[in-house]
Amino acid sequence: MRILIVEDDHWFGREIVQDVETAIPSLHGSIRVIKSEKEFRGVFRSTEALSFELIILDVMVQWDMAGSESIPEEDARAEGYFKAGIRCLELIRKHRSTGGTPVIVYSARDREVILQGIRQRQIAMEGIQIISKSGDPETLLEAVKQHIRS
């Protein structure tokens, strides 16, 4: 099983990987962390996207960690940085091969704000779980374990 984590804060990215690999040693080396929306879109243009069975998404994600280019105007107008994770979620759902892939939205943002963003983009909630970063890290680990069991 491969897991994709979209997280622009290197500390949090590192923490999630470390926690998951510690709790589920079989996943060691099967987790890919990407730090920007641009990088995420690159992955979703390749066949690599097919290999992920679980995606953990942050909501506020930088467009380009390397700072090599500006966010497209269209995306900037669509609340840019603040809704980057929602746009990634929409891409996942629209993609024929990844449409059914389970997603955990793991963010510090308020749950209601995230739900509103999802509704605005008319994304079905099926297979989507929202977990707050403020909570116990175990919550995320439990959710990941559930997906492995299923």
């Binding site: 622009d8 804060d9 290197h10 500390w11 949090f12 923490e15 730090k35 506020m60 930088q62 467009w63 960690m65 390397a66 700072g67 090599s68 280019e69 500006s70 966010i71 105007e73 900037a76 107008r77 609340e79 840019g80 940085y81 603040f82 510090a108 943002r109 970063k133 403020s134 890290p137």
Partner: protein
């Protein structure tokens, strides 16, 4: 008698003469009247009416000035010629010849006067009685003739009076019933012409003339030319003159001098020219066609081919002392209609009627045109307002389009002007020139070249009028470009001009100019119109400025509101991340059994706490600055060399905040320090830490994660200024110099698109700049094209220890 036809009316005169002839047992009777052309000694008598036993042919037209009848008339004494003078004694006397040819043996002549004539008045002619038998008029017969003769002028007067009254009444009816419907397309519409034709039919019948015409000036022409508006022209094979210039021909003379004309006999024009010129100085008749020949075509033929008098009348049509045109009447078909002063007076009365009527028509027409002009103007302004509204409401108003619409409005309301143009002031305090034409319409000029030429002529010739109108903020009408302060010496295809300022209150934008080929009837209205148009445009421009300011304010307000929202969201996010991490590590720390195992978590916790401290400190400083407070500093004198340790420590601490794995290089340029080893820098060291934190945070966030961040501490060789620089590889496309300048503005980043809806909240560099400013230092942000390196440099003022003391 009023109800009878003209022919019957005059046949009554013939009947009267025939009855008198029979009563006097005469074979012939003739009413002779003065021609009235020329002085008394030269005037002739013409046969106004006659009756001969058994003959219908007219033998006379004139009596010679020397004839016995003429002499008797001139003396006002009746005479009875019992025998005719011997024709052989005066073989050249044409009258004797005629009488002999008729077989006249004796005749008597009774001078007559108009009814009501006073004693001493000249007689108007005579009634002659002729006998073909050798039986002259006896004394009692002569007395009878003398008593009956005055009945003839009495009857003629009555007939003429009744005919005049009838004519005037008819014309009054025509005028009253005429439908004066104005026609904007034609100066003289069909209804108007038809009404005039009926008047001319009446004139033709009353005057029994061959031709009658009304010539009028066109209301919008000022050259005095008159045109036929309605006519009774019998010569279908001969073209009628289409115009008469001022003084051209008898008709043109009448119009130019506003003087009625009566020529008794055009057939004798050349013989009578001396007398005619006394009455009508400088008159000249060009004879457009041979009137004698034309008359012969239309009049009954006589055996001797002699023509009756070819009379001509012309009366000016006047209204308010202005000549509108001419009513003319030409060649009576038969006696007694040959035209004299009495007929001229009647024609003048008719012309006065027509004048009053035409004047009323022109007044109506002008009123209608004025209404139309106002309507077109109101519609134009309404359309312009709609267009202006659209343009003003659009985010980017297309004012060129508004100017062209304004010109269209002016053109539609003033179709006869030569050109209209709009000139805007170039701005600032520069004097007004008319080079800045933003639009123009030229009626005559079709091509771009022609328009350009017209525009150049305008600027070269009447530029001062435009400048004055602009400077004085007043409309300047120039009704005559050949005189006055704006006189044009060069040729200009215009004779009048009006300039109006485009302004609103004291705010002046430019001028609108209208050129007229001639002043015309509506100059004053045109001036008022462009004045209004100028004010209208001025108002639009003021509104545009106001709206632009309002839009800018609204944009700024929206932007500020959006920034505030983003700031809160960013702040929330930036604080939540380290707090959640700290919370996570604190929990993990609690589970550690040994202190040595807890060291990494402690270090990480310290980094995140510093991260929170940095954010809170930035917020506090920002809030202080936003309230307008000056930044408080606690500066101490620090040796330059001593700063290195402090900086190294700050960098090391920040490494924990940023990422222990991130490559942050600290470079201390010792060599550059040597010359200034004892130099002091006045610094608030806590604020220095904050600046370094902010710069490193910024560099870490907006740079390639794999590229190193370099912190350099050195002294500039040339200026001997101490500086700290933080450089990193940023974008592959370096920021522009403008972006570099604005990078440190509050809420700004290198790229506007990035600023909007981007991560971070952009306070870092702003705080750095403010701290530096509080230290008297300067922030330099350099962007090199090579490798996309951005170098943020903090320049500090320094001083010698003694100075510091």
């Amino acid at each position: 008698m009023l109800g009878v036809s003209q022919a019957r009316r005059f046949s009554a005169l013939a009947d009267l003469i025939a009855a008198i002839r029979r009563l006097c047992a005469a074979d012939g009777c003739v009413l002779w009247l003065w021609t009235e052309q020329g002085p008394p000694e030269s005037v002739r008598l013409f046969a106004a009416a006659d009756d001969f036993e058994g003959s219908t042919e007219k033998f006379w037209h004139y009596l010679s000035p020397d004839s016995p009848t003429t002499q008797a008339v001139r003396e006002g004494s009746r005479r009875n010629f019992e025998t005719l003078p011997d024709s052989r004694a005066d073989a050249n006397d044409p009258d004797l010849k005629v009488m002999h040819s008729l077989g006249v043996k004796s005749f008597c002549t009774i001078p007559v006067w108009w009814p009501g004539a006073k004693s001493g008045d000249a007689s108007i002619g005579a009634v002659n009685f002729y006998r073909m038998s050798e039986c002259p008029f006896a004394a009692d017969e002569f007395e009878l003739a003398a008593s009956l003769a005055p009945l003839v002028p009495q009857a003629l007067t009555d007939i003429l009076n009744h005919a005049s009254f009838h004519l005037l009444r008819q014309i009054a009816d025509r005028v009253r019933n005429a439908n004066l419907v104005e026609d904007e397309l034609r100066p003289f519409p069909p209804d108007f012409r038809r009404a005039l034709t009926t008047v001319l039919e009446d004139v033709e019948e009353t005057f029994n003339c061959l031709e009658a015409s009304v010539y009028l000036k066109e209301p919008k022409e000022n050259d005095g030319t008159i045109h036929p508006v309605s006519t009774r022209w019998p010569w279908h094979n001969r073209p009628q003159p289409m115009t008469y210039g001022p003084g051209e021909g008898l008709t043109g003379y009448c119009a130019a001098k506003a003087q009625p004309i009566c020529i008794f006999d055009l057939g004798r024009f050349q013989e009578d020219i001396a007398y005619i010129r006394e009455e009508y100085p400088s008159i000249n008749w060009s004879m457009p066609f041979d009137i004698k020949e034309a008359a012969r075509e239309m009049l009954p033929k006589r055996k001797d081919d002699r023509l009756p008098p070819l009379s001509f009348l012309a009366a000016p049509i006047l209204h308010d002392r202005q000549v509108l045109g001419v009513l003319r009447c030409c060649v009576a078909k038969s006696a007694p209609h040959y035209f004299n002063k009495r007929q001229l007076e009647l024609l003048c009365l008719v012309a006065d009627h027509i004048g009053g009527w035409c004047g009323e028509y022109f007044r109506l027409k002008r009123a209608h045109e004025k209404r139309q002009w106002l309507q077109a103007y109101v519609q134009g302004i309404s359309m312009l307002n709609r267009r202006a509204h659209e343009i003003l409401m659009a985010p980017k108003g297309d004012f060129e389009n508004l100017y062209s619409k304004a010109l269209e409005t002016a053109k539609s309301a003033l179709p006869e002007v030569l050109g209209i143009s709009i000139h805007l002031h170039q701005g600032g305090s520069s004097p007004f020139t008319c080079r800045g034409a933003v639009g123009s319409v030229w009626q005559g000029a079709k091509s771009e070249d022609e328009r350009g030429k017209a525009s150049r002529i305008l600027s070269e010739t009447v530029g001062s009028a435009l400048a004055d109108s602009f400077e004085l903020n007043e409309v300047i009408p120039v009704p005559d470009l050949t005189e006055g302060p704006y006189r044009v010496k060069k040729y200009l295809p215009a004779s009048a001009l009006a300039v109006a300022p485009i302004s609103s209150g004291a705010r002046k934008f430019g001028v609108i100019v209208v050129l007229f080929a001639d002043k015309g009837l509506y100059f004053d209205q045109a001036v008022a119109m462009i004045e209004l148009l100028g004010r209208q445009l001025g108002m639009y421009l003021v509104m545009a400025d106001t709206l632009s300011d309002l839009r800018a304010a609204k944009d700024a307000q929206e932007q500020a509101a959006e920034m505030q929202l983003q700031t809160f969201e960013n702040l929330q996010h930036q604080l939540k991340t380290p707090i959640y991490l700290a919370h996570r590590w604190a929990r993990r720390l609690a589970s550690r059994q040994k202190l040595v195992e807890a060291v990494p978590e402690i270090a990480r916790l310290k980094g995140q706490i510093r991260r929170v401290e940095q954010i809170v400190s930035n917020i506090q400083m920002f809030a202080d600055l936003a309230r307008g407070n000056a930044l408080r500093t606690n500066r101490t004198a620090t040796r330059i060399s001593g700063l290195a340790d402090r900086l190294a420590e700050a960098v090391r601490d920040h490494n924990l905040v940023l990422d222990p794995d991130r490559n942050i290089r600290f470079v201390l340029d010792h060599d550059s320090f040597k010359a200034l080893d004892d130099t002091l820098v006045w610094l608030d060291l806590d604020l220095l830490d904050q600046m370094v934190d902010n710069l490193l945070d910024n560099a870490g966030k907006y740079s390639d994660i794999n590229s190193p961040i370099t912190v350099r501490c050195a002294v500039q060789q040339r200026s001997q200024v101490f500086y700290i620089s933080v450089s990193n590889r940023g974008r592959q496309t370096p920021i522009t110099s403008h972006q570099a300048r604005t990078l440190a503005e509050r809420g700004q980043r290198g790229d506007k698109a990035l600023w909007k809806k981007q991560e971070g909240w952009g306070l870092g560099l702003y705080i750095v700049r403010e701290i530096l400013a509080a230290h008297g230092g300067k922030l330099d942000i350099l962007s090199t094209n090579e490798n996309g390196i951005t170098d943020v440099r903090l320049l500090f003022p320094n001083s010698r220890p003694t100075e510091a003391v």
